[in-house]
Amino acid sequence: MDRESSLGGRVIDSYGGVSLHRQSHGESFLALMENRFGKNGLYLLDEPEAALSPMRLMSLICLIHRLAGEGSQFIISTHSPILMAVPAAEIFVLSENGIQSTPYQQTEHFLLTRQFLNAPEKMLSYLLK
């Protein structure tokens, strides 16, 4: 596993001789998708971020983007502000008001996460006071 590769490259290029049993959940899940998913497929993923670190989520973005360019369709439910950054995607926000198509940078996920990461101490002191 090419675990520490730079963000620009593919994090996983192959199984590298490691059986799925010996890999962590996140590794084996990504390995399954890398090896099992192909072009012209329909893939439905319900909150796939649970098993994946931020690094692996970025690898998943690469995979989804590549396969979408090869005729595959993805429908994904997610809470992840990283995953939903997949280019050329449409985000539907489900709420008490129904369903709203929302640009990535206007989602609550993006805005809140950015606000938090920009100033964690400030956010925490507000939350915990």
Partner: protein, 137 residues
Amino acid sequence: MVKMEHTSVVDLYVRGIRISRKLPQDSYLYRLPAVRCLQEPNELTLRKRVTFFAGENGVGKSTLMEAIAISMGFNPEGGTVNFRFSTADSHSGLYRYLTVVKGTLRRRDGFFCARKVFTIWRRISTAWTGSLPLAGG
């Protein structure tokens, strides 16, 4: 330069979803605004190769995902049409009311990962490596 747009969107496998039978007013599905709003004549049209559903827990994301999966012939427990393992017949029944507007092309491949799947992932990876040439070594 990243190519941001994929080619035409006429060849989607799932082009839209709508609820084509009246939801019973006493059902919990009817009380989910994000589900109820799909009632005909409304329809959610999918326009992109990648669609995300976001929103708080309890708004109906998983219910919707599961109903789409069943309507497209997947096992609601997750997996391909052929790969099945059953825990319980626990799906919500929304699929009985849902119409999926399908594209004209037939998909070559497909996979549904239910949320439950991620929590019992080790079991799945065992099933996969046992039945398919997936592992590298």
